[in-house]
Symmetry: C2
Subunit: 206 residues, 2 copies
DNA sequence: ACCTGAACACCGTTCAAGT
DNA sequence: ACCTGAACACCGTTCAAGT
């Protein structure tokens, strides 16, 4: 039954998954500004209008990419670890997932702000935090705040990666003045620590 | 000497400030997606190409708008207040400034991520935090983390304002399920508290 | 000093029609 | 079920030329 259509395909024919796969490749190779519907269509060797059979619009396609980017398995952490260490690990894992694709943070950030998708990492963070004994609203607010920091930080980080690779630096900014490499990871961990420490010591509701 | 040019102007003639003023009006009235160079030119009754005498490109124009949006005077705070309350006040003031223009947070966020401008609020936050006795790097990192949270939170907040005004809600999301109005201010204050509490209790360097 | 006119090289999206 | 072909209504930017 399967495989009987491979010989008589009249033109290209793709699945929704094919489209998302190709989009993810273009994103990673050329960046978000170059991920246009027309360029994507050309890569798939179809007309731009063909894409609208698979996705109603570009925004929905980007939401699908965002979901894939954050769909990484959460990092394994010591079973005895408390909610603080688990939240740290979850945050670091999310950062890794965003860094795994060029402009990954931008894509997730924009669809998150748009209200579409990207709720998976929010829920994961909220659940991890809730294990600390916080009520649902506190956990949700803390997770949202932490997620905003993470998305902003990694977006910034990826923006710098591109600047550096293009050799573009703002006037008067020497390469040393810009934090790069491991410093970025340190700054990220520092920000996460600020959050969990604040939450841990908070007497708001626990 | 002044005023002798008003009668014999051959065509429209604008200053760089005129252009930024008009752009800010379009931004506030129609939102960032509708702030195009062509629409701006039309509002000023000039050709699109005329804008490029005043600004080298759109990105630079947006950076100018970002600078104006955050140029609000910092809120007055009790002279005896400590760095925690001052940081809270500075954060709330920045939120107000961003909320004062439609899509204000998006504009500032994008130019901040781009590396242009928006350094004024970062410096203000860093200085306020440094008054708590933290070293320069810690203050800078904490200010950056806080700023990322603020920009993400207010962007999200403004995105929701537009959704609500359009009557658009994601499937299955009831209006009650979405935090609105004063809840957003509460959630914002909660996030800021997480930060300053974490920093206050932090033994990293103080 | 500031603008016009015309062009270049693009966008996202719609829709009737084809296979 | 999936794509073509053609169009609509736009974009940002450049550059020679005008006043």
């Amino acid at each position: 039954m399967a495989g009987s259509e491979s010989a008589n395909s009249r033109y290209v024919r793709h699945s929704r998954d094919d489209v998302a796969d190709a989009a993810l490749r273009i994103l990673d190779e050329y960046g978000l500004p170059d991920l246009t519907m027309r360029r994507l269509a050309a890569a798939l060797e179809v007309q731009p209008s063909a894409l609208y059979w698979h996705f109603p619009n570009k925004q929905t396609l980007l939401a699908e990419l965002a979901d894939r980017i954050v769909a990484r398995p959460a990092p394994q952490v010591d079973a005895e670890a408390g909610w603080v260490d688990r939240t740290r690990a979850e945050s670091a894992g999310l950062r890794d997932a965003l860094l795994a694709y060029r402009d990954g943070a931008e894509v997730v950030s924009s669809t998150f702000a748009f209200g579409l998708g990207a709720s998976a990492p929010l829920n994961r963070l909220a659940e991890t935090i809730a294990a600390g004994g916080f009520d649902a609203e506190t956990s949700h607010r803390a997770a949202t705040a932490l997620l905003h920091f993470i998305l902003g930080h990694v977006s910034h980080e990826q923006q710098r990666l591109q600047f550096d690779s293009l050799g573009v630096l703002a006037d008067g900014v020497t390469p040393d003045a810009v934090e790069g490499g491991e410093n970025q990871a340190d700054a990220f961990a520092f920000g996460v620590t600020l959050f969990v420490t604040g939450l841990d010591r908070s007497t708001i509701s626990q």
